[in-house]
């Protein structure tokens, strides 16, 4: 079975329409396998994706493009208890996760 998700690229278009990611420190909550992450992370200063699903995070880590190795990190965490200091991020993205 072949599934094509958003072949017209609407999500990427709207992400960049709503927010300027340039050099921003971004937290993505519910990143899963990183499908959304790859649509904006290149322009950020740094991106951290969190998800409670370790299997999904393994896929995201394996799929991470080589030019994003130093810019995008993934962590297993719950949104109710974020393992970060206060005022760490410029942008938070709730990726189909609220």
């Amino acid at each position: 079975m072949t599934l094509y998700k958003d072949p017209e690229g609407s999500e990427k278009k709207y992400l960049h329409k709503f927010v300027d990611f340039a050099r921003a420190r971004v937290l993505e909550v519910g990143c899963g396998e990183g499908r959304m992450t790859w649509q904006y992370a290149k322009s950020t200063g740094a991106t951290i994706g969190i998800d409670p699903d370790r299997d999904a995070l393994r896929v995201a880590t394996v799929d991470r493009p080589s030019d994003l190795q130093d810019k995008v990190l993934f962590a297993c965490a719950e949104s109710e208890c974020l393992p970060f200091s206060s005022e760490t991020f410029d942008i938070a993205v709730l990726a189909w996760s609220l």
Binding site: M1, L3, S10, F18, V19, S79, E80, S86, I91, L94
Partner: protein, 154 residues
């Protein structure tokens, strides 16, 4: 959910941005699409779990706004297509991945199969998912007020 929003606010800088992107149940259309034409063949059925989940998410954001944590700046809907080569592929996906919150009725299933069978060679089957994207801004409200109000005296 509300506590998660409080946590997100905590880790955002003052004037930081929260971008909430999520699908909303809205009896998503099923379509048969080729390069030359798009034909709606039916609608998926929203099951109670998805409707309730949407309501809970909306209520959580309203609560966060009412507490002065975030201010809504911008919101829009846009379509996000899930597309398959055949109706059978779509049915398989819905059964495996969406059956807890979305239903495919027999009438829509049959109409989609029929339209695809007589369609162009490049015809695909797709579901038009309704996505809501909302931009929220961290407000200047006292960041510690909620914790003060909910922390037991020691």
């Amino acid at each position: 959910m509300v506590h998660a929003l409080e946590e997100i606010r905590r880790v955002l800088v003052p004037e930081g941005i929260l971008l909430d992107i999520r699908p909303l149940a809205d009896r998503w259309p099923v379509e048969v699409a080729s390069a030359g034409a798009v034909r709606e063949t039916g609608r998926l059925d929203d099951l109670a779990e998805q409707v309730n989940a949407d309501a809970a998410s909306n209520e959580a954001m309203q609560a966060a706004e009412a507490r002065g944590w975030f201010k809504r700046e911008q919101a829009e809907f846009f379509p996000f297509f899930y597309s398959w080569d055949t109706p059978g592929d779509m049915e398989e996906f819905i059964a495996e991945d969406w059956s807890d919150f979305i239903g495919l009725g027999e009438a829509a299933r049959q109409a989609t199969r029929s339209a695809w069978a007589v369609g162009e060679a490049d015809s695909r089957v797709r579901v038009r998912v309704k996505i809501l994207i909302t931009k929220w801004r961290v407000t200047a409200a006292d960041r510690n007020s909620y914790r003060r109000n909910t922390t037991a005296p020691g």
